[in-house]
C-alpha cells in the first residue's frame, strides 16, 4: 500500500524517472509546479484518483466538494484518471445551466478544470438519457459513455472516491 503520510521524497523509481524527463507538470497535471524541486518535495507518494459524482449541482454540495477535492488532488501533484457522473450527477454536464451572475458556475468550472488539466469527464449514458442529457446539450469537456467507464476507473485508479448520498 502507498503511504499517504511519510516521506517528503518520491520513492517510486518510475516517478523519479518521469520527473527527470522534465515532463512532470504535464504528466501529473500539476497546477502549481514552478520547478522540478517543488514536485520532488511533495508529501508522500503520488496516486491516481478516480472520482464519482452522484448528485446534481446546487441542490447538494456533492459536486462542489468533488470539484474542490479534484483541485486539491491536482495541486498535491496527484493525477485524476477520470471523473464519472452518475445518478443526478449527470446534471453537472448540462450546457443549459445558467446560475445567477454572482454565483459559482458549477458546470463551467468542471469544463475549465477538464480543459486545463486534460481530465476525462464521463457522463453515464443511461442515467443521462433518463434525465434529458444528450450530446446536443452536453457542456464542453464532458463526454457521454457507459457504466463500464466507472468500473474501469475502479480498476485503474489507486483510489475511487465517491461524492453524494
Amino acid at each position: 500500500m502507498v503511504s499517504a503520510a511519510g516521506g517528503g521524497t518520491i520513492r517510486s523509481p518510475r516517478v523519479r524517472e518521469r520527473l527527470s524527463w522534465g515532463r512532470s507538470a504535464k504528466a501529473f497535471g500539476l497546477a502549481r509546479v514552478r520547478d522540478i524541486n517543488d514536485t520532488l518535495t511533495l508529501q508522500g507518494e503520488l496516486m491516481k484518483f478516480g472520482i464519482l459524482v452522484n448528485e446534481g449541482p446546487y441542490t447538494h454540495q456533492a459536486s462542489d466538494t468533488a470539484y474542490l477535492f479534484a483541485k486539491a488532488v491536482l495541486e498535491k501533484g496527484h493525477t485524476i484518471h477520470r471523473v464519472f457522473f452518475y445518478h443526478d450527477g449527470v446534471h453537472n454536464s448540462s450546457n443549459n445551466t445558467e446560475p445567477p451572475q454572482d454565483d459559482r458556475h458549477i458546470v463551467n468550472r468542471w469544463t475549465k478544470l477538464a480543459q486545463e488539466h486534460d481530465i476525462d469527464l464521463v457522463v453515464c449514458v443511461a442515467a443521462a438519457l433518463r434525465r434529458g442529457i444528450k450530446d446536443n446539450n452536453l457542456a464542453e469537456g464532458f463526454r457521454i459513455s457507459g457504466l463500464g467507464q466507472l468500473i474501469e476507473t475502479g480498476i485503474q485508479a489507486d483510489r475511487l472516491v465517491t461524492f453524494g448520498d
Binding site: S12, K48, N54, G154
Partner: protein, 135 residues
C-alpha cells in the same frame, strides 16, 4: 496500489487486473432511484471479471425482500433482476443482521440466497475490499 506503479502510468488495458469490488446498498428500492441504478452498475460490472460482492444495509435490505408489488405506484418492479445475478457469477450477497432484525425481517424473507453477517463482520468485509461503491 503498489510501489511498482507509483499510482501513475499503468496501461489502460484492464485485462488481468482483478480487484475486489463491494457494492453497498443502503436505500429502499423505491422512493429514490439509487437502488435501481446501483443494480445497473452491478450488471455492467459483471462483464469485467472482477471479484464482486453485494452488501445490503439499512433500508437497503428491502431491495431483496420477496413479494414486491409496485403496480399501485406505477414504478417498474426490478426485484426479479436480483435473481439473475447468479447467472452473472455474482453469488456473494451479504445482509447486515442488525439492519434485517431492526426491520422485523428474517433470512426467509429474501428472494435470493444471502449470507447474514453482523455489523462487525460487515466492517471486516469492507476492510478487505479494493473498491467500495455505496448507493
Amino acid at each position: 496500489m503498489t510501489e511498482t506503479t507509483g499510482g501513475i502510468d499503468m496501461d489502460e488495458d484492464t485485462s488481468g487486473v482483478v480487484k475486489k469490488f463491494l457494492y453497498v446498498n443502503r436505500k429502499a428500492p423505491y422512493g429514490t432511484i439509487y437502488a435501481l441504478e446501483s443494480l445497473e452498475v452491478v450488471l455492467i460490472a459483471a462483464a469485467f471479471d472482477q471479484d464482486v460482492s453485494l452488501a445490503f444495509l439499512d433500508d437497503g435490505v428491502y431491495q431483496i425482500v420477496k413479494g414486491q408489488h409496485t403496480k399501485p405506484i406505477d414504478v417498474k418492479n426490478f426485484s426479479p433482476t436480483y435473481r439473475a445475478l447468479e447467472g452473472y457469477d455474482i453469488e456473494k450477497l451479504y445482509v447486515e443482521k442488525e439492519s434485517m432484525e431492526e426491520r422485523g425481517l428474517t433470512d426467509k424473507d429474501f428472494l435470493v440466497p444471502v449470507q447474514v453477517v453482523g455489523r462487525a463482520e460487515m466492517a471486516d468485509l469492507m476492510e478487505q475490499q479494493d473498491v467500495v461503491l455505496t448507493f
